[in-house]
């Protein structure tokens, strides 16, 4: 399939900026949200930003083996596993504390 060759009219820098902005937004969310589930979602957002950048570079560098895209596969694998386990933990915590607020998980303090 012939598709638009985006890099004829774009520079890699645009994708870098886009990815970085998404990453920062995700980081902002991690710091700002207290709900544990939304926290995980923001982490997923960050991971996706990175995925985007990987694919962009893969195309830009003309990779014959599509290494970037392969890496994205594996990031997705890990993200999926992590989401599953993370949510299981949150459910567990909710069962014990009736809250999803992360600020209440401070029993490791001094």
């Amino acid at each position: 399939m012939q598709l638009l060759n985006i890099f004829k009219s774009l520079d890699i820098s645009h994708y870098i900026y886009l990815s970085t902005v998404l990453f920062s937004i995700g980081m902002f969310g991690v710091l700002f949200r207290r709900n544990a589930i939304v926290l995980l979602m923001c982490i997923e957002l960050m991971l996706n930003a990175v995925n985007l950048l990987m694919v962009a570079f893969s195309e830009y560098m003309g990779d014959a083996q599509a290494n970037g895209q392969m890496f994205v596969f594996f990031i997705m694998v890990v993200a999926a596993a992590e989401a599953a386990v993370g949510l299981a933990i949150i459910v567990m915590v909710y069962r014990n504390t009736r809250k999803t607020d992360v600020s209440f998980l401070d029993s490791l303090k001094d």
Binding site: L31, R34, V102, S103, D106, S107, L108, K109, D110
Partner: protein
């Protein structure tokens, strides 16, 4: 060479032997060995006089080994026996042996008996190093060694803190003088590239060196002599050194150690002869010292202190002789002084022994009957030092006076006055101590006893020398030959001797006798007939004299106190500030810091996340900025 080994090795052996095993041997063995170790070198040296007298240039040299090599110049441990050094050796070992013998009686009841004799032998060894060395290096070794022994022996009764302080004072003042000596040695080494006496003297005599250099070296060497031979301003240690046992005072502070400075100057007479400024300086210092010490001694009541100030004063006489260029005369006076001063000190020791350790003349009196031997020998010494005609002191002092007269009138008058004062204070002490009524309440008159033979035999021998010792150097108007000066002339060619007219000489002689008679008559009237006893209440100038012109107090105020204050200040800074801040302050600091740090770990996940992100940002930023 074997002679040198004996002369040097025996006292050293005595030191080591007595030091190591003396504690386990009976006292008689310790004492005899120590005395023998000094007496045998005397006889060996005496035996060498024959060889030395036959040939003017004869000398025994021995180079043991090279101590170190600086700049390709070897500094070696080497010794030489020539007329000058053998003469000094005779004095040292002769008087030393007599004092060793005396000490076996005097220190009989002391528990540190073996230690005393080991120190004494070590002292003799060091003194011999000093006079037998053929270069400045060996002399310096001996110089420091006798300083050490002086310290050890002054503070011999170490349990008394005051004695320890006196010992320390002697050592420190000596050290101050040593600084000058060292600087002089450095100058010599750097400018003349040798420390050997012979090479040094040859270089000086041959070339023309700058006057300033020679004067500088001379003055620096003289500063060393100032400390060792107790001249102004470094004399205050000697009276305090009387804290040591009396034999120590006799040996070290009368006959030998304090003469090391004189020896140094005599040995380098060529240097000093070419430094007129320095010799003028020496002359005036000697004069001032002779005068000052005589004035102070006039009002002292402790018999040892009187003798101490007398020593300082007589040393002043010797330096005056050096200052006017009469080097051999100074040596002659050194010799006679060794005789009668050792005699006087040992006699004082005998008195102290018989009076059960009483040293204050106000609490003595009338001892003539009880201690006849001591009395007569002491009289001989007193007459000698005051210049009784034809005793040894008369001849030596007269020579010095004559030489001073030919140098200048004012020095002569001042010196004559000092001689008068010498007579006065000596006879004052003699009359108050031995005549009059017995004034001691603590020690019964019946218990006053004469000293044992082992103490009185040295007294008698020394008395004989004090009386007849002048015969070794009779002046020219009596005999032409057989004098010490003539004998030493090949070694000490310089003898500034302005010829005085025959009539002037007779006048000088008469003046000297007159001075003696004045002193004798005055003191006889005041102290014998009128029975005046020195009291504590003195007024005006006399109290200043008695209080040593407050020199010690001045030193204390100007030098010692500021140093102590500096020390306290530094202690305050060091311990106070640094210790308090850095050692004791660390703990509260740590507490505060850790309390702050504790708040970081509050268990809050959000905070941890924030810290992680901040760390990442910081790392990236640092990476950007610096790389």
């Amino acid at each position: 060479m074997s002679n040198l080994l004996i002369i040097l090795g025996f006292p050293l052996f005595g030191f080591i032997f007595n030091g190591l095993v003396g504690k386990y041997l009976p006292k008689s063995v310790v004492g005899s060995i120590a005395s023998l170790m000094v007496a045998i070198p005397f006889f060996v040296a005496f035996g060498m006089i024959g060889d030395l007298s036959n040939d003017a240039q004869y000398s025994v040299n021995w180079k043991a080994y090279t101590f170190l090599t600086l700049d390709n110049i070897p500094l070696s441990v080497s010794f030489t026996i020539d007329r000058l050094s053998v003469w000094m050796t005779l004095i040292i070992t002769g008087v030393g042996a007599l004092i060793h013998l005396y000490s076996t009686g005097y220190m009989k009841n002391d528990e540190g008996f073996y230690k005393f004799f080991s120190y004494l032998n070590f002292f003799i060894f060091n003194m011999l190093l000093l006079v037998l060395g053929s270069n400045f290096l060996m002399m310096f070794f001996g110089w420091e060694g006798v300083g050490l022994c002086s310290y050890l022996l002054i503070g011999f009764w170490y349990k008394n803190v005051e004695f320890g302080k006196a010992a320390r004072k002697a050592f420190v003042m000596n050290r101050i003088g040593d600084l000058g000596l060292l600087l002089g040695l450095y100058l010599i080494f750097s400018k003349f590239h040798t420390l050997e006496y012979s090479e040094f003297s040859n270089q000086i005599a041959a070339g023309n060196h700058s006057d300033n250099l020679l004067n500088a070296i001379s003055i620096l060497l003289f500063i060393g002599a100032m400390g060792k031979s107790a001249q102004i301003p470094l004399y205050t240690w000697l009276p305090d050194a009387m804290a040591g046992p009396t034999p120590v005072s006799a040996l070290i502070h009368a006959a030998t150690m304090v003469t090391a400075g004189i020896y140094l100057i005599i040995r380098n007479q060529i240097l000093f002869a070419l430094s007129p400024f320095a010799t003028e300086f020496i002359l005036w210092i000697g004069l001032a010292t002779a005068m000052l010490a005589a004035l102070i001694g006039l009002k002292q009541t402790d018999i040892k202190k009187v003798l101490a100030y007398s020593t300082v004063s007589q040393l002043g006489f010797m330096f005056v002789a050096l200052g006017v260029g009469a080097y051999s005369t100074a040596l002659f006076h050194l010799t006679t002084h060794a005789f009668f001063k050792a005699l006087l000190f040992l006699g004082a020791g005998s008195v102290i022994h018989g009076m059960h350790h009483e040293q204050d003349m106000r609490f003595m009196g009338g001892l003539k009957k009880k201690m006849p031997l001591t009395y007569w020998t002491f009289l001989a010494g007193t007459l000698a030092i005051s210049g009784f005609p034809f005793f040894s002191g008369f001849f030596s002092k007269d020579e010095i006076l004559a030489a001073t007269y030919s140098h200048g009138l004012i020095p002569y008058i001042l010196l004559l006055l000092s001689a008068l004062l010498t007579g006065i204070y000596m006879f004052r002490m003699f009359f108050v101590t031995f005549h009059g009524t017995y004034r001691n309440e603590k020690w019964d008159y019946s218990k006053v006893h004469e000293s044992p033979l082992v103490m009185t035999i040295p007294l008698m021998i020394l008395a004989v020398f004090s009386v007849f010792g002048g015969l070794i150097n009779l002046p020219k108007y009596i005999t032409e030959s057989g004098s010490l000066v003539e004998w030493l002339k090949p070694m000490l060619p310089i003898m500034e001797h302005h010829e005085i007219g025959h009539s002037e000489e007779i006048i000088l002689l008469g003046l000297a006798v007159l001075v003696f008679l004045t002193a004798l008559i005055y003191t006889r009237i005041v102290f014998l007939k009128r029975n005046r006893v020195p009291t504590d209440s003195e007024t005006g100038f006399f109290s200043v004299m008695r209080d040593k012109f407050y020199v010690d107090e001045a030193y204390n105020l100007v030098i010692v106190r500021p140093l102590e204050i500096l020390g306290d200040l530094l202690h305050l800074i060091g311990e106070g500030i640094f210790l308090k801040i850095f050692s004791f302050g660390i703990y509260p600091l740590l507490q505060v810091v850790s309390r702050l740090n504790k708040r970081i770990q509050n268990g809050n996940i959000e905070f941890y996340l924030l810290y992680m992100i901040i760390a990442v940002i910081v790392l990236l930023g640092v990476n950007l900025i610096f790389f």
